[in-house]
Amino acid sequence: MEAKKIGCYICTGCGIGEALNVAALEKVASKEQKIPVTKSHPFLCGTEGIALIRQDMANEGVNALLIAACSHRNKTDEFEFNIPLLDRVDLRDKVLWVLEDGSKDSTAKEDLQMMAADYLRMGSVKLKKMNAPDPFLESGFSKDVLVVGGGVAGLTAAKEVADTGYRAILVEKSDQLGGMVARMHKTTPTLPPYRTLEDNPVQGLIAAVEGHSRIKIYKGAAIHKTQGAPGLFDVTIHAGGTETTERVGSIVLTTGYNLYDPAKLDKKLGYGSSPDVVTSLEFEEMAKAGKIVRKSDGKPAKRVAFSLCAGQRDSNHLEYCSAACCSYSLKHALYLMEQYADASAYILFQELRTPGQMEEFYRRVQEEGGVIIKGDVEKVEKAAAGGLTVQIHDKLVRGKEQLEVDLLVLATGMVSSVDTTDPNNPSPVGQVAEDAARYVLNLQYRQGRSMPELKWGFPDSHFICFPYETRRTGIYAAGPARRPMGIAETITDATGAALKAIQVVESVARGAAVHPRSGDLSYPSFRAEGCTQCKRCTEECPFGAINEDEKGNPLFNPTRCRRCGTCMGACPQKIISFANYSVDMIGSMLKEVEVPAEDEEKPRILLFACVNDAIPALDMVGQNRSKLSPYIRIIPLRCMGSMNLVWVADAMSSGFDGVLLMGCRHGDDYQCHNVRGSSLAETRLSKVSETLDRLQLESDRVKMVEVNIMDADTLPQLINDFAAQIASLAPNPYKEF
């Protein structure tokens, strides 16, 4: 690879030229930082400015660019040169716009210049330390997709994958495909006018999948082992007594749901007390079989009560709502009324939930005579004449009422079938065959065999904005496995998961990362000899990307990696780094800041800011022209998770008076794009006082705060208060060294 030749280009537009001594800045770059090519231009992002840069690239052999202008979030198209080595120094938004205009006041002018120069220095060093990432590419990457679970979600995912031209391998634990939906009679309307029941789609799906040239199916199968990583998963499948290993690129988890065990329900609902108390699935099967009858004596069941929320929305059972039961129960009422002209269907609801166009289906069921009752079942007894007497608390006519019915149907809720576990207490990886039944994928991951859960056993990790993400790269859950949902939504969801599965294999083939740093070609490399087997990296990786050998040395899986740098931040030995991001790089940057001598009374405060939220927020502070302390120096981090404690020590020993870290919200409603980055940083910082004590410094010189992207209005005070508080302390004694 040709030698790196850096070109530094300073834009003097947007008032930079007037406010700063650009000649002096050019000197910092050329003389002090020894940047071979240093130029300035009044309108760098304009056609001329860009042309100037391109000329140097063509004629001077410039192949690394340091662009000192505005925030890296502006003018990205203009400053796109398709080269890996480029860094932006923000002289406008984070210097000019946040400091007092120095036109009158000489100190202010001096502060402006110092800040600009420091950022130029840091940029120069960063670029010097930056190498072009060399993408992780291997022969043997597979683009096939493994789909686990052969219900509607799985069938859909497999079909969609195959229809897009990729090969799918479908694994189903039972002997036939179709899952839960195969046991259903008809499905709720999905098409206008949303009034009539639709034929069960499952047979059609099964036919399509079984007849598809690009789909391979394993039935009666269990996965005994899932080894490897995206592009390189080796999945050991046991079916019909034989073991096969398939190499796949990604995995779609569509194992669906189990119904909440009706035996666990409150006694008052009467399940088990009479055969005429049934679950909604039992009712489905009865309708599918043809005749709706009393289980007790086989007489036609014409009066049926449907009790919604049988366990759902109940902290003693399922805290969440199962989303589909209301519509399903309305459908069941319609089965009944379509079978018997003189039927009586009672829908006992808490909150009748028929979102979107399903409201029309609700109307249809009432039109047919279905009676809605907001009420609870309080007691169920066998009636003399057979059937049941159900005592309800009727909230609309306000009183206790006795219902005489032939059947009471309990709409039990959905429970995720994905085995999940707290990633902090992983189940041991070892011989897994014996409890294969317990685990779906049997991941051979150092952090455990299961999918880490977000809540209630559902395995997604970036709920709301990026619902497909999980903490196991290249493995996407879809359908009720990830959130209670009906058939129509499941089909959509499985289609989306199919796309993500294809997307990851294509990204892997390019050596590129997927969300949140999609397209990033860098990945961690590691200097084995320095490793002390402390296991921090393997334990802390939010995505379980790193395995261990028997000695406890980390085994990196680049295609599992999301490039957040948490491993790098965790490593006390500083032996994990990326081609374009390393402990040394950030360390060198902060050391490059010129720390004024004590008597100048210009403290220096280092500010580590997460690029995802804190940096955009700081840009907005600039847009608002809010003023910040001239003593701060900002270094953007990929994620707070990449924050290595050594930087704090470095900052202190090189004379910074304080360090402020700005990460994303953590806790239950975490906003960290890497799930645990900011919380891990906080945990590490809790140990920082030791470091400070060792240096005999006050521990409140270092502080971490949660910053939301919309905090531009509160940030200035937060930063300036910290600056004031630091200023109130004695200067850092290490300045002189």
Binding site: Y362, Q366, G369, I372, L396, V397, E401, L403
Partner: protein, 196 residues
């Protein structure tokens, strides 16, 4: 037995606009829209749920339906498009025809015995006669009392030539046909109401 639907089904079929009762989703907008709302023992939506719950006696004996001023607020606001005013009128009629309605309920009495007789006897409302009958329905004494209470207004009307104690006009010209038409209509109506 609660929620036995035989009563509801008869109302759906034989009470004017009764089938709409099926469609109520119990939002309560009707109750709040009614000018005499506080005077209803059961609001329209309560009546509807009670019909579905099979509470025949409570519904039909209740005075609630007779509280309707026919302001039509409920109709234009009902999110399910129930013609509530007409349903309530229907229930009142149903209660009256089936003999559940309290015969002494003032509006029932006036509507069925006075107003209707008044218009069918001539073909048009005779306002003087109507008010007289209304006042004297509880007997002479009560009538005079009522009359005296309203005498200022009555006198005012007389002065304004907007009330005529001696009806100018007898029956409408086509009264015979009018009556025959009504008889036939009533006959058809009874057939419908009896559910055959």
């Amino acid at each position: 037995m609660a929620y036995d639907l035989s009563f509801a089904r008869d109302v759906y079929k034989n009470s004017e606009m009764g089938h709409w009762i099926k469609m109520c989703k119990q939002c309560g907008v009707c109750a709040g829209s009614c000018p005499l709302g506080p005077h209803w023992e059961f609001s329209p939506r309560q009546l509807f749920q009670m019909v579905r719950a099979g509470k025949k006696e409570e519904v039909l004996k209740s005075h609630s339906m007779w509280m309707c001023t026919s302001c039509y607020n409920c109709i234009v606001r009902c999110p399910r498009g129930l013609p509530i005013t007409h349903i309530v009128h229907g229930l009142a009629r149903y209660a009256s025809v089936k003999g559940y309605a309290d015969p002494d309920q003032v509006t029932n009495r006036f509507a069925t015995r006075i107003f209707w007789t008044n218009i069918v006897s001539t073909g048009r409302v005779g306002e003087a006669m109507l008010t007289m009958r209304l006042y004297f329905v509880d007997g002479i004494a009560a009538g005079i009392k009522q009359g005296l209470e309203m005498k200022d207004s009555a006198l005012g009307m007389l002065k304004a030539k907007r009330l005529n104690p001696i009806p100018l006009r007898g029956k409408i010209k086509g009264y015979a046909g009018f009556q025959a038409m009504l008889t036939k209509a009533q006959e058809l109506e009874e057939k419908r109401e009896s559910g055959v």
